[in-house]
């Protein structure tokens, strides 16, 4: 797997086009990622971190070709930076502490009766969204570190730092009407402790939650306290 960071310049027209629609960004990212970008534990994940400088992170199974993307929407004189992810994945071990950032689409399924497929609803409140992540952490091979001086279960070190609701229309090849897609993108930050490195590796590579094609699911780790 390869992790790529691309600086985007929102003052450029194409960058605004890409940032404005998850579907457009998905297409651009898939083009950069190349051929072998299927589903499952080897799929393409991406995330946009806005801020003083807007960064696009890509996680791809093979080395991506970002020249077109950088030429169209990147910060001038700044190249994409691609690094091999495997050495980092291999050094993950139980007990390590990592600061993490995750963009996810927290949702729940509500039963529609026997034999019918459940209907998906997004979690709406910050507390629901936090709880969604807290409940799932055992499956991902990590646990959240409790905040200091507070042994209350709710006081785990994860905060919702940003919430977005991108809405766009999607044309299905087999359908005549365009369906309207709403994504409940929630960005989490916090500190985690590794409990099961294998499960965590899988979560890092395969992503977390729904809407992975549309900028959700990518979990990144950074050393605690690094500035």
């Amino acid at each position: 797997m390869f992790l790529t960071k691309i600086g985007l310049d929102p003052s450029r027209r194409l960058a605004r086009k890409y940032l404005g629609s998850p579907q457009v960004m998905h297409a651009v990212v898939m083009k950069a990622a190349g051929e072998d970008s299927g589903d499952g534990a080897g799929r393409v994940l991406w995330r946009v971190d806005p801020g003083a400088s807007t960064s696009l992170y890509l996680l791809t199974p093979s080395e991506p070709d970002c020249t077109q993307l950088v030429a169209d929407a990147g910060v001038r004189d700044l190249q994409a930076r691609t690094l091999d992810y495997s050495p980092f994945l291999n050094q993950l071990d139980s007990g390590q502490l990592w600061a993490f950032r995750l963009a996810a689409n927290p949702s729940r399924s509500v039963a529609q009766g026997p034999g019918k497929r459940g209907k998906r609803y997004g979690h709406v409140t910050v507390e629901q969204q936090r709880q969604w992540l807290i409940n799932r952490t055992p499956n991902y091979g990590f646990e959240l570190v409790p905040t200091e001086g507070d042994d209350d279960e709710a006081a785990q070190s994860v905060v919702v730092v940003r919430r977005e609701r991108p809405i766009f229309n999607r044309q299905r090849p087999d359908a005549e009407v365009r369906d309207r897609v709403t994504i409940n993108r929630t960005v989490y930050e916090g500190v985690l402790q590794v409990t099961n490195p294998d499960k965590l590796r899988h979560a890092l590579v395969a992503g977390i939650g729904r809407s992975k094609a549309y900028g959700c699911g990518l979990l990144t780790l950074a050393r605690v306290g690094r500035r």
Binding site: L3, K5, D49, G51, A52, S53, S55, Y57, R81, L83, D84, Y85, P87, F88, N90, Q91, A99, R101, E189, T220, L221, A222, R223, R226, R227
Partner: protein
């Protein structure tokens, strides 16, 4: 002497001085008659009640965000829908924010401040269809009108301040001539017929006043220091791991 400061802002404002017949114009800044009328209605005075005490107040206004003029081609019908009312053109200021100051007797201004916070008749910015946004009263200041209007922080909307973040914004200050200290006179005078002598609808009367135009440079308060570097940098650790292996 005290100064009552008012924030006059809302989606639309209309300050008419010269309107005649079906063209209802607006000035580019609040008028003395408009603001004194708003204060009188806040106190609960009717149009025929005396306003002599209000006429002694001195008035000044600072254009914190000048706004733009829009035209409304106004069509209306009578309540039963049978007759059409006269077609009129009404002009409004949109997206404007003003700081208005009233200088005068302490006790009177305290009463007006109270009244603006709990008005008897609804407040509006020059025309009944233009309600103000809160807060209208910014309270009393113990300073001359000239200083109070210069020292108050900039009231403009964030988007407007952002537009001027690299250079100071020169706000126009329109003051009653006798409220400007001697040494500050620039001589940029204009007459304005907006001193209300009577609001009585049967014989409205307005007098002249001399208005001096000055400029105040306003700057946005320093932005909170934003860390230009993203604290979360996954690349650094991935690179380190690659070197170690």
């Amino acid at each position: 002497m005290a100064v009552l400061l008012l924030r006059l802002a809302g989606p639309m404002q209309a300050w008419g001085v010269k309107s005649r017949f079906t063209v209802r114009a607006t000035e580019l800044a609040p008028t003395k008659s408009g603001v004194l009328g708003m204060l009188a209605s806040a106190v609960g005075r009717r149009r025929t009640d005396p306003i002599e005490d209000l006429l002694r107040l001195r008035f000044g206004v600072r254009k914190d965000q000048p706004g733009t003029v829009i035209r409304d081609f106004h069509t209306a019908r009578s309540l039963d829908g049978k007759d059409s009312m006269p077609l009129s053109e009404r002009y409004y200021l949109t997206d404007a924010v003003f700081l208005a100051g009233i200088e005068g007797d302490d006790a009177l201004l305290q009463g007006l401040d109270e009244a603006v916070k709990h008005p008897v008749f609804p407040l509006y910015l020059g025309r009944r269809s233009c309600p103000p946004t809160q807060p209208v009263s910014l309270g009393l200041r113990d300073a001359p009108l000239y200083d109070a209007l210069r020292e108050e922080p900039w009231l403009a909307s964030p988007w407007f301040r952002r537009r001027h973040r690299h250079s100071a914004f020169n706000a126009e200050l329109l003051l009653d001539l006798d409220a400007v200290p001697e040494e500050e006179h620039r001589g940029d005078l204009r007459g304005s017929r907006d001193v209300p002598l009577s609001f009585d609808p049967r014989r409205r009367e307005y007098g002249f006043r001399q208005v001096e135009r000055l400029e105040v440079p306003l700057t946005a308060p320093a932005d909170k220091p934003s860390s230009s570097v993203d604290a979360h940098d996954p690349m650094a650790d991935v690179e380190e791991a690659a070197q170690c292996s």
